[in-house]
């Protein structure tokens, strides 16, 4: 009995002492990385290239999406070079630059140069050929208590080169076009339902998939897109799908260096354009 009392007493004492004696954390100075330019681009063949320009910020600054506008970089010189010619971009709103040109064509290499103060970033990319759906059809299975929604997609691999594909499915919640790149920082009218990343090494010639969709009503509208993206952007999106993943992946403590094709900066100079299909599920 004395032994039991001893155990109970000492253990309760230790629990309280443990709770009360947590050592004070020690401060540590971690130097922030020098501020660099961050780009993101969208391209509309035969029409325009849009560049959004922001800068990096310290992990200690406490930035959120709410004050993202303060990161936009105005007054930069943005140029694109192809076929031996250089074209200037116009700044249409702070941090958003656009270049209209009917000569923006597939399979052509583009070099982007951005100068802001003393900073110069460059990036090269090739406008990848567009891939089109051979099949893109929603399937709505209605049951008394539930409705299952799928979208059946298929497309042919572009032969003779390595390709990486991005399939997105959106729930369209308003009249706003979710793919209007001019305002991609101000979205909110649509929500992404699912993203599929697939390399042509994973299938043989024809990609076919039945994609299950959740959180949909039978009268919703959806948009389905497929893009032929470059390898680095594919790797980036893959890494993001892991790095921002579920509780199990959070236990993986090793850092991820996200890929970029920008020299001396971050982000992506993308030159892909999607095939887009829009559906009203009420018709299925």
């Amino acid at each position: 009995m004395t032994t039991i009392k001893f155990i109970v007493f000492s253990s309760i004492l230790s629990v309280f002492l443990l709770a009360s004696c947590r050592p004070k954390p020690i401060k540590i100075n971690v130097e922030s990385a020098p501020e660099k330019l961050v780009i993101y681009t969208q391209l509309i063949p035969d029409k325009s290239i849009i560049v959004s320009l922001t800068h990096t910020f310290s992990a200690l600054d406490g930035f959120t999406e709410a004050n993202i506008e303060s990161l936009l970089v105005s007054g930069a010189q943005v140029q694109v070079k192809f076929n031996g010619e250089t074209f200037d971009f116009q700044e249409i709103t702070p941090g958003i630059y656009i270049s209209y040109n009917e000569a923006y064509q597939y399979n052509q290499e583009y070099e982007l140069t951005i100068t802001s103060g003393s900073e110069v970033v460059t990036a090269k990319t090739i406008m990848l050929p567009k891939v089109d759906f051979t099949t893109c059809l929603p399937q709505v299975d209605k049951f008394p208590t539930d409705t299952n929604v799928y979208v059946n997609v298929a497309f042919n691999d572009i032969q003779n080169i390595n390709n990486w594909y991005l399939v997105n499915v959106y729930r369209k919640t308003g009249s706003y076009n979710p793919l209007d790149g001019l305002n991609f920082f101000q979205t909110g009218n649509n929500s992404s339902l699912t993203t599929v990343l697939v390399s042509d090494k994973e299938f043989n010639g024809v990609y076919e998939k039945k994609i299950a969709l959740e959180n949909l009503f039978h009268n919703d509208s959806i948009a389905v897109t497929v893009s032929n993206i470059n390898e680095k952007y594919f790797d980036y999106l893959k890494a993001r799908s892991v790095g921002g993943g579920n509780v199990f992946t959070q236990l993986n403590l090793e850092p991820i260096s996200y890929p970029t094709n920008v020299v001396n900066g971050y982000g992506f100079f993308n030159a892909h354009f999607p095939d887009i299909k829009l559906f009203d599920l009420g018709q299925f």
Binding site: F6, I7, S10, S11, I12, S14, L17, L18, C21, P23, K24, P25, I26, K27, I28, N29, V30, E31, S32, A33, E35, K36, V38, Y40, T54, H55, T56, F57, S58, A59, L60, D61, G62, E65, L71, L166, N168, P178, F185, T187, N190, S191, S192, K238, A239, R240, S241, V242, N246, F248, T249, L251, N252, L253, E254, P255, I256, S257, Y266, F268
Partner: protein, 766 residues
């Protein structure tokens, strides 16, 4: 060069031949503890007149060849016993058992004189060929402060030079710049794959059952193989053949009880020991329901079949259990896991003749974990297991006091079931059912090792090991030479050097420095090559007779190939297809270790300092640039003092000063649209891999041991342990954390795991 080698070989044979040609007799037998009749390992049997001696092996057996003569004085010494001086007849070959710590049972006794304390390990170390060897004194370890008063031999090992701890309070350790999976831990020759309880905060080794613990950091004898950086060889007690004993302890976190005694007096003994934590029961008292506990059980039977044969059967069984199903208030469903080791060793030792000793071991070991959960219409079962069955046959041939051969073979069948996942319900949408295939490999090792005293001052131990791993599609084999040499400058001074190559055919798949239940072992395959390490070490050894202290200064360089890491962004947890994520690279480590140790006297202890560097290089990581290893601790200083204040009271203290572990912080961020361009995400920018270091840590722990009055009950003795961990409550940083500041921004801080923790414990023996 060839001429020199042939001359040396010729010299060896001439010495062997000349030794045979003289009138010589063999003296062989066992060294035992007079009270318990347990064998005494590594005792020295010394003939002063001949200035020669021999050491008992890991089974207490010795054999020595000496010139025929009527009488010899012989001295038998071991660190834990007083020196025994006997006179024996040297007329004929004979078998003699020496008993230490009591009256000798040598039949030819003419005189038994206890003259002085025996030599310490530090003194013995001067003339031995062992280098980079750390011996843990269990009696000393039991006096030292520990978290919650739980004596932990692996944490004592972390106080030795060259053995860095991982996170604070953990049993994970890193030897000479190696990785955490490069340490082989053997208990009675069986591999223990997971040496930690409670996510690695407590080791699975019950201190009451350990007889001997040695850690090789380099200079590996050829009979050891399988890991690159260290071999920890733990031998458990055999059980008292003479009297029944009980030993136990009641602590704040767990209690333990060991029973030992004769089954057949002087012929057969048993030992059984159990330990269980009661953190769950304690927390229940204060209203917290965390049904987590661990337990372990050691058992051993030791049978003297005859004068030439002995049989040991030993087993270890332990589990960590979390069972939230008993939590009736839980709204989040049931969850639990169970993980643990299970080992058995059956060993038969046989003396073929006074010069040839053998031991045959049949070894089984299993490590497995089960994670189970259900709730909200989903259920999850994750299971992983590794099971080894091995056979080992070793021989020791005692040719003469100058020449000893060791040779043997080992075959181990590894069976891996890396990951079985069964899910039902919604969870199965993102965690699919998987039945991992059974992976079977065979690992073999054939070795030969020779210990030879070339002159009275120059000794050499040279060996060759040929490890092999046979997998489904590929067979790997290696040639693993080991050479240790000692040059004795004087009785108290020597220089040593060693070179060794080690192979490792298994890798631990772990994403964390903590021992997570999801850690698992994975063998070499067609794509995953064996890890290889080449190590060179040199040491200077000095013994101060007046101070009864030893000084060892050791330098090393280690080059490692085919180290394993994971590609950035790998999802390896609960993933049985992780081989695609494994990448291999190189690493190197160098350092200097200084150890000043006093083993005898009222004040004992040591000061150990390590200055080290260790780097890694993987083409796929850090932009292909070499980077510092996570536990590249530049400075590591430990000071341990044990003061015997009087016969009943002793005080001990540990002070540790260590450079922080390395980490890769987020040094910037930027916004990018998500894949669907419907939202923006914050993307972290990391520094170069492991470019930053946590702050240097220091900590003081103290402990008092108060023994019961010796005359109260001669059969019963007890002691109280009253101590404190982290006396001045300073954080030992283990990670960094972003904390908000008053101006709406953030700052990095480094929290510590454990603050001031008092402890009290009660140990008894009868």
């Amino acid at each position: 060069m060839k001429q020199k080698i042939s001359n040396t070989i010729l010299f060896i044979f001439l010495v062997c031949f000349s030794a045979r040609s003289q009138e010589k007799i063999s003296i062989s037998g066992y060294v035992r503890d007079a009270k318990s009749h347990e064998v005494v390992l590594f005792a020295k049997i010394y003939f002063p007149e001949l200035k020669t001696g021999v050491m008992s092996n890991e089974y207490g057996f010795f054999s020595i060849e000496i010139p025929q003569k009527s009488d010899y004085e012989v001295q038998v010494t071991s660190a834990d016993f007083p020196l025994l001086t006997d006179t024996i007849s040297g007329l004929s070959t004979q078998t003699i058992d020496f008993s230490l710590g009591g009256e000798s049972n040598v039949s030819e006794i003419e005189e038994v004189v206890i003259t002085s304390k025996s030599k310490s390990d530090g003194q013995e170390n001067i003339s031995s060929t062992d280098i980079s060897l750390v011996k843990i004194s269990i009696e000393e370890a039991k006096l030292l402060p520990a978290i919650g008063g739980e004596t932990d031999v692996l944490k004592v090992a972390q106080l030795m030079p060259g053995i860095n701890r991982g996170s604070e309070g953990g049993t994970n350790f890193f030897v000479r710049g190696g990785d955490g999976d490069q340490n082989l831990i053997l208990v009675d020759e069986a591999t223990v794959y997971n040496p930690g309880h409670l996510f690695g905060f407590f080791s699975v080794f019950n201190p009451d059952v350990i007889k001997e613990m040695s850690i090789y950091k380099g200079g590996f004898p050829a009979n050891y193989s399988g890991r690159l950086s260290s071999i920890t060889d733990i031998r458990t007690i055999d059980g008292d053949k003479n009297k029944f004993h009980a030993t136990g302890g009641i602590g704040m976190l767990s209690s333990r009880l060991t029973l030992e005694g004769p089954i057949l007096k002087d012929k057969m003994s048993f030992m059984i020991s159990g330990r269980r934590s009661y953190i769950d029961q304690v927390l229940k008292i204060v209203g917290q329901n965390i049904p987590f506990y661990f337990y372990d059980l050691n058992a051993k039977i030791n049978y003297n079949i005859g004068p030439k044969d002995r049989l040991f059967i030993s087993s270890y069984f332990g589990n960590d259990v979390l069972d939230v199903s008993s939590n009736e208030d839980s709204l989040s469903g049931n969850f639990g896991f169970k993980l643990g080791n299970f080992t058995q060793t059956v060993r038969w030792t046989h003396v073929f003749n006074p010069k040839l000793f053998s031991y045959l071991s049949l070894i089984h070991t299993r490590f497995k974990y089960d994670i189970e959960g259900n709730g909200f219409g989903s259920s999850l079962l994750v299971r992983s297991a590794i099971r080894d069955i091995g056979l080992k046959y070793d021989f020791q041939y005692f040719h003469s006091s100058e020449l000893k051969f060791l040779y043997g073979v080992q075959v181990t069948n590894h069976n891996f079931k890396p990951s079985v996942i069964n899910t039902t319900g919604e969870i199965s949408d993102f965690l699919k059912n998987k039945e991992a295939k059974l992976i079977t490999t065979f690992e073999t090792n054939a070795y030969a090792d020779v210990k030879y005293d070339i002159t009275t001052r120059w000794k050499i131990q040279a060996g060759l090991s040929i490890p092999t791993s046979i997998t489904a599609n590929k067979t790997y084999f290696g040639i693993s030479p080991r050479v240790n040499t000692t040059f004795i400058v004087s009785e108290n001074q020597s220089f040593k050097a060693s070179v060794s190559r080690m192979y490792q055919f298994m890798h631990r798949v772990s994403s964390s420095s903590f021992a997570l239940p999801t850690d698992l072992w994975y063998p070499v395959s067609e794509n995953v090559k064996p890890q290889i390490a080449d190590q060179v070490a040199v040491s200077y050894n000095f013994y101060f007779p007046r101070l009864k202290s030893s000084l060892v200064i050791e330098g090393y360089y280690k080059y490692m190939q085919n180290l394993t890491e994971y590609k950035e962004g790998s999802q390896i947890i609960l993933n049985d297809d992780f081989e695609q994520y494994l990448i291999q690279g190189t690493g190197w480590a160098s350092g200097t270790e200084v150890m000043f140790r006093r083993e005898k006297g009222r004040v004992t202890g040591w000061v150990a300092y390590t200055l080290s560097w260790t780097k890694r290089h993987f083409d796929e990581l850090n932009g292909g640039e070499a980077f510092w290893a996570k536990y590249d601790r530049r400075h590591y200083l430990t000071t341990v003092a044990i003061v015997e204040i009087n016969k009943r009271l002793s005080f001990s203290a540990i002070f540790e000063l260590a450079s922080g572990a390395r980490f890769t912080p987020i040094i910037g961020q930027y916004f990018q649209p998500n894949a669907g361009l419907t939202d923006v995400e914050i993307i972290p920018i990391y520094s170069k891999r492991n470019a930053y270091r946590l702050s240097m840590s220091h900590r003081l722990d103290v402990n008092f041991v108060i023994k019961s009055k010796p005359k109260k009950n001669p059969r019963f003795s007890s002691e109280w342990h009253i101590g404190a961990y982290n006396v001045y409550n300073r954080a030992t940083p283990f990670r960094i954390k972003l904390e908000p500041t008053a101006d709406g921004k953030f700052e990095y801080t480094q929290p510590g795991l454990f603050g001031f923790i008092p402890s009290i414990g009660f140990n008894f023996k009868f």
